[in-house]
Structures are given as structure tokens and as C-alpha cells.
């Protein structure tokens, strides 16, 4: 288990107040809640994009909260996916590998493995600007995990996909995460995601964790 303590942030009249919260250090923890409940704020605070004084996050004996976002070594998939549009799918993924200082040969090997798992061979050399929604999502996930992150963070990664594609993607990702053994925090409000992917489900409302199953 990794332990989040004293995560308190004020955004105008909205208060995010999490005194203690446990995230699995293997498998998938789902953080679920209605719109405006504070899911994305928790996500951004854990990633290090929002400052939260007094916040502590112990992961395998390391307090990640005091590290810079880049030093936390997290893999991130934002809701908007944010691929680099001027690069191909491969270039997007290898950018992340270079950022984490992974040797080129090893990065290429990892790319092949991940591309195999996520069935990406057909569009690896295609420009990110012309990829379909499902393809973009797979590239974003591959980009997030190629650097062998401590933990993978995904913010509503399936929200832009249609139902069939969503189910297919869930299966692919579940299999990939099982194989890669990367602990994951999934932010979602989709019951389908919770049912299919969640090993632990935490519910958030009005900025507070109200239930953990």
C-alpha cells in the first residue's frame, strides 16, 4: 500500500480535504466520483501539478510529495491524451523513453513489446495528428509506461471512445498492466471501468474520500 496523508488544497470555495488515503501498490485503484467532486484535483496534486503544503505520500518508503513532478517517476495519461501532434506515434513514445534516460536499444525493445500488447503495429509510423481516438489513447498509454514508471495515472482515459472500442481498450489495458505489473490509479466516473478494472475502489465527493472498497 502507498499512503497519502494531509492532502488539503483550497480552490476558491472548493476544499479538497483528504487526511488519509491508501492506494494499492499493485493492481488498479479506482478513484470514482461525480463531476466536480475533486477527482482531477487529486490527480493533479499527486502528480505534482498542484501545490499542497503539508502533504505526504509514502510509496515504498519514499515520500513522493517532496519530489518535483519529473522526479516522482510517474506515467501519466491525461483525459485530453495530449499527444505531441508534430510527431509520429513512435516518436511520441520514444520521447518519453529519452526523457527517462532509457538507452535507445532498450527503448526500441520495450516499444516493440508494448506495441505488440496494445496492437499498435499498423499505426506506429503515422503522425499523431491523424490518429483515431482509440489509436491516440493507446499511444498515450504506451508513452506513459515505456519509462517504467513507479505508478501509472490515468484520468478518464476511455471517455472519448465509443462503447465497443471502450470495452476492447479496457481488455487490452488490463492485460498490459497485469503483464507489466505497474500499480495504477484510474480516475473515472464510468461504472464499466470500475467493474472491469478496479481492484480497489475509492469514492470521492465534495473533495473528501467517502468510501473505500
Amino acid at each position: 500500500m502507498s499512503l497519502v496523508e494531509n492532502l488539503n488544497i483550497k480552490f476558491g470555495s472548493f476544499h479538497l480535504e483528504i487526511p488519509k488515503w491508501e492506494i494499492l501498490d499493485e493492481g488498479i485503484t479506482v478513484l470514482s466520483g461525480p463531476s466536480g467532486s475533486g477527482k482531477t484535483s487529486v490527480f493533479r496534486a499527486l502528480v505534482g501539478l498542484e501545490l499542497a503544503p503539508g502533504f505526504k505520500w509514502t510509496f515504498q518508503g519514499v515520500n513522493l510529495a517532496i519530489l518535483k513532478p519529473s522526479e516522482r517517476k510517474l506515467g501519466i495519461v491525461f483525459q485530453s491524451l495530449d499527444l505531441f501532434p508534430h510527431m509520429t506515434a513512435t516518436e511520441n513514445i520514444l520521447f518519453a523513453a529519452r526523457a527517462r534516460g532509457i538507452e535507445k536499444k532498450l527503448a526500441m525493445m520495450r516499444l516493440m513489446e508494448i506495441s505488440d500488447s496494445l496492437k499498435m503495429e499498423k499505426f506506429l509510423n503515422r503522425s499523431a495528428s491523424i490518429l483515431s481516438g482509440g489509436e491516440r489513447q493507446r499511444v498515450a498509454i504506451a508513452r506513459a509506461i515505456i519509462g517504467q514508471p513507479r505508478m501509472l495515472f490515468m484520468d478518464e482515459p476511455f471517455s472519448a471512445l465509443d462503447l465497443d472500442l471502450r470495452n476492447e481498450s479496457r481488455k487490452l489495458i488490463k492485460e498490459l498492466l497485469r503483464k507489466e505489473k505497474i500499480p495504477t490509479l484510474l480516475i473515472t466516473h464510468d461504472p464499466g471501468d470500475i467493474e472491469m478494472l478496479g481492484n480497489k475502489v475509492s469514492k470521492i465527493q465534495f473533495g473528501r474520500i467517502i468510501d473505500q472498497v
Binding site: L49, I76, S80, F95, A96, A99, A144
Partner: protein
């Protein structure tokens, strides 16, 4: 190990010790950020360290000039908004999705008076309107001509992005044009229009070259008063005081400017309800008039071309001078924009750039005038430095801010991945912005080629084509001035192509 190597390693060790002791670690980003910041506020620093404000200056002059500045800016913004809004309705009669090329031609026509050096608009207007109304009215006239096209392009974009689907809905439901304009469109976009109006107001408030030429004795603005205080009466402390007051005034107004949003795609919509094809005809007619005014000057000038014999050596040197200034400003602006991009984003820096609209032209010029020797190469360097400084502030608002805003999320993602600022710049930022940087620095180089106001303060003799043209214009030799301004177009085009081409070469060279 030779002596120099020993000295170098000693210096390196001392630096490391000092850094350790005082925790002085600066990244390349922080240093660049600081350099850009200091460069942009350098005129204030220079003048405040040189001159102390002893008492308050004479308030009679101050209030009179402030009133002139305020009135001319307010009227200029008002007319620009009224005409620009109508012309904007004309532009949307040519939807980008359907007639992209024709729309581009009209947009370029509209933007031309704003992007060309002011000398062209002055020549055209002075050729057509005879006698020209010198004073506040003349300033308002020229400012309006220069800005309503910009307003039209911005307004058309806002209507298409924000109101496209609502206009379609109102059209289907049978709303009348006038009713929808007042009850639907204007309430929907009035904040954006207000913002554009403020922007034009600030541009006009800071304008120096136009009031200098057409202001006459009755239209002295704050900018011109600052110029006169230093140039004619040597009252440096009074000028610094006026400048600071003016900058605070502009800064306060700029606080109410809305932030540029990220660009959103324009969806195909039927805008028949509000579009105005008649305005399109007027845009065309206006620009025919604009070019006829300019061409009229050229045609009369051709008959007097033999009189240029006496100026031929001067023209050659001025041509080279303009080329040198244009190329230096273009290159320096490109570097400046890249430095901003490399240091992006940082909250205080971003807020500073958003709020800071640059120093007054005359203040910046005089600050550099007192810095070190003048004349010869120094004049060229100082002119280039001041134009770069003033251009950078304008270029940031003209397109760099939205360009950087569009990259914010990508930079954020890359940072969380652990990418270094260098990798982010090289692989994410630079490949996506070098072309725009080339175009913007090209525009700055064209401004520099046609400049006469900055050069007039910093140089005692005509160093560039802009200065020569202004000398002819001031002595009412408009036809000769028009002919000479043709050379400004040639040299401006050369500099523009150098910047655009150079940026593409760099883009290819630094492809990761």
C-alpha cells in the same frame, strides 16, 4: 596544465563553492527568463539610476497632453471598433471553410495598414486628403485607418468561433438581423469587443510616430511631450516622471484585458443572418483608395525621379542602413521569442509578459541614448536594440502568447514525464513554433526597415530609408517620399524573407 586552464579550474571551483554556500543554483531557463525580463524593463532601470525625480513637473502641460492622448486614443478605438465590427461582418460573408484563399486575401488586405510601417499609411492619407487635418483629428484618422482592419479580422474570428451555431439557430427560427445583432450577438461577444477596444486604445495611447508627424502643435500627446521635454528642454527628470505615470496608466488599463484563449477550431456554420456582403465591397473600395493614394504619390514622384540624382549616394547608404537594422531586429526578435519559449511557462514571467506593454517609445530611446557612446555603429546597434525591445512586447500580444498557450498542456505532459527543459524545447516547443517565430520576427524586421521615429531620436543624421522618407515628407515632398518608400518595401521584403527562410533552415537543421 597551462596557466589559463589552472585559472579556469580555480574559477570553476570558487563558483561551485559560492553556489553551495549561498544556494545559488540557476538553471539556463531561470537565467534566460531574467535576461528577457531585464532587457524589457531596461529603459526604466537605466533612467531611474541616472535621474532622480526632483519635485513634480508642470501639471498644465501634463494634463493637456494627457487629455490629448486620452481623447485621440478613445476616438481612435471607438471608430476602429465601429468600422472594424462592420467590416468583420463583411469578412464572415467569405467563410474560411468555403473560400479559404479569398478570405485570406481579404484578411491580409485588412491587416496590411497595421503590419506595414506607419509611413505607408501616412503617405497614402497625406496624398489623398489635402489639406490634411493636423492635430487630434488627424491622429484619430490615421490610427483608425491603421486599426479597423485588425479589429475586423479579430471580430470575424470571434463571431465564427463563438456564435456560429447560435446564429444558425436564430436564422432557422426566423430572427431578424437587427434584432439578433442587438439582442443575441452583441451581448454574447461584448466582452471580447471591449477587450479588442482596450487593446486598440493602448496601442494608440502609446503611439509616437503618428502624433509626431500629424499631431502638429495642437495635438501634442504624452509621448510627444516626453520627447519634447528631453529633446528641446533637456528636462530628463520630468520626462522620466511622465513616462512612469504613462506606464502605470497603461498597466492599469492592461489589467482589464482578457487573456488570449487557446485557439479553437472554426466549425462550418451558415452566418447569413449577420453577414454583410456590402461591407465586403466597402473593404475592397477602401483598399483601392489606400493603394490609389499611395500609387498617386509614386506616379507624381516618377516625374521627379531626376531630382534623386543629388541623393543617390545617400540612398545607397540608407538602403544598406535599413537592411542592417532590419536584419538585426529580425534576428534579435527571433532570438527573443525563442528565449521566451525556452523559459515558458513560469507564473510570474507569464503574468509579467501578459501585463507589460512595453515602455514608451521616447523613453526607451532616451534611455539607450544616454547609455554609452553614440554615433556610427553604436547608433545602428541602439536603434536595433530599441526596436527589438518595443517589437517583442507587441509580437508577444500579436501571436506569441496564443502560440505558447497552445503548447502549455504538451509542456506540462512532457515535464511530468521527466523531460528536461532542453529536451522539451528541442523536441516539443521549437518544432512547433519556429515557423511562427520566423513570420513574427519578419514582421518586426519590416517595422524596423520603415522606422523613422526611434531612429530620429537615436541618430543625428539620416541612417535609413525610413528616416530619409520622413525628412522628405516633413518638407512636403510627398511624391519623392512615396518613390523612396518603394525601396522600403523592397528592403522590408528582403528582411522578411530572410527571417522566414532562416527560421525554416533552422527548423530543418535542428530536427531532432
Amino acid at each position: 596544465m597551462d596557466r589559463y586552464s589552472q585559472e579556469y579550474s580555480k574559477l570553476k571551483m570558487t563558483t561551485a563553492l559560492l553556489q553551495k554556500k549561498y544556494n545559488l543554483y540557476f538553471s539556463m531557463q531561470e537565467i534566460l527568463r531574467l535576461v528577457v525580463f531585464l532587457f524589457l524593463i531596461s529603459p526604466f532601470i537605466l533612467l531611474l539610476t541616472q535621474f532622480k525625480i526632483h519635485g513634480l513637473p508642470e501639471f498644465g502641460d501634463f494634463f493637456w497632453a494627457l487629455r490629448n492622448s486620452f481623447v485621440q486614443s478613445l476616438l481612435s478605438a471607438f471608430f476602429s471598433i465601429i468600422i472594424g465590427f462592420w467590416f468583420g461582418l463583411g469578412l464572415i460573408a467569405l467563410p474560411k471553410v468555403r473560400w479559404p484563399k479569398l478570405r485570406n486575401v481579404f484578411e491580409i488586405l485588412c491587416l496590411l495598414p497595421n503590419f506595414l510601417p506607419p509611413i505607408f499609411t501616412l503617405l497614402s492619407a497625406l496624398n489623398i486628403i489635402d489639406p490634411f487635418p493636423m492635430g487630434v483629428f488627424g491622429i484619430v484618422l490615421i490610427h483608425s485607418i491603421m486599426n479597423f482592419g485588425l479589429v475586423a479580422v479579430l471580430t470575424a474570428g470571434i463571431i465564427e468561433k463563438k456564435a456560429g451555431s447560435v446564429i444558425e439557430l436564430a436564422f432557422v427560427e426566423g430572427a431578424t438581423r437587427l434584432h439578433f445583432l442587438y439582442r443575441g450577438l452583441l451581448p454574447m461577444i461584448y466582452k471580447d469587443i471591449w477587450s479588442i477596444g482596450l487593446f486598440v486604445f493602448i496601442i494608440c495611447f502609446q503611439s509616437f510616430s503618428i502624433p509626431l508627424i500629424v499631431g502638429g502643435g495642437r495635438g501634442t500627446t504624452l509621448e510627444v511631450l516626453i520627447y519634447e521635454k528631453i529633446r528641446l528642454s533637456g528636462e530628463w527628470s520630468g520626462a522620466v516622471f511622465l513616462s512612469i505615470v504613462q506606464s502605470i496608466f497603461i498597466f492599469l488599463i492592461s489589467l482589464s484585458l482578457r487573456n488570449t484563449n487557446k485557439s479553437t477550431e472554426i466549425k462550418k456554420s451558415n452566418l447569413q443572418l449577420v453577414q454583410s456582403p456590402l461591407a465586403l465591397v466597402f473593404i475592397f473600395a477602401f483598399f483601392v483608395l489606400y493603394f490609389v493614394g499611395y500609387l498617386d504619390g509614386i506616379l507624381s514622384g516618377i516625374q521627379m525621379v531626376s531630382t534623386f540624382y543629388e541623393y543617390q549616394s545617400g540612398i545607397l547608404w540608407s538602403f544598406l542602413g535599413s537592411l542592417a537594422i532590419g536584419l538585426t531586429v529580425g534576428s534579435a526578435s527571433f532570438l527573443g521569442l525563442m528565449a521566451i519559449a525556452f523559459s515558458w511557462p513560469k507564473k510570474w514571467f507569464t503574468q509579467f509578459l501578459r501585463g507589460y506593454l512595453g515602455p514608451s517609445t521616447s523613453l526607451a530611446c532616451f534611455a539607450f541614448l544616454i547609455l554609452g557612446p553614440n554615433g556610427g555603429l553604436f547608433s545602428f546597434l541602439k536603434i536595433s536594440a530599441v526596436i527589438t525591445l518595443l517589437s517583442l512586447c507587441n509580437l508577444f500580444r500579436l501571436g506569441w502568447l496564443s502560440e505558447m498557450n497552445n503548447l502549455d498542456s504538451q509542456i506540462e505532459v512532457a515535464t511530468t514525464m521527466g523531460a528536461s527543459p532542453r529536451q522539451i524545447f528541442r523536441e516539443i516547443t521549437f518544432p512547433q513554433i519556429f515557423e511562427r517565430a520566423g513570420i513574427l520576427s519578419g514582421i518586426a524586421s519590416v517595422w524596423a526597415c520603415g522606422d523613422f521615429a526611434v531612429s530620429r531620436i537615436l541618430a543625428n543624421q539620416d541612417l535609413s530609408l525610413g528616416m530619409m522618407t520622413e525628412t522628405l515628407m516633413s518638407s512636403y515632398r510627398l511624391s519623392q517620399a512615396s518613390i523612396l518608400s518603394l525601396l522600403i518595401i523592397i528592403v522590408g521584403l528582403m528582411c522578411y524573407l530572410f527571417c522566414v527562410g532562416g527560421s525554416r533552415v533552422l527548423g530543418r537543421k535542428f530536427k531532432y
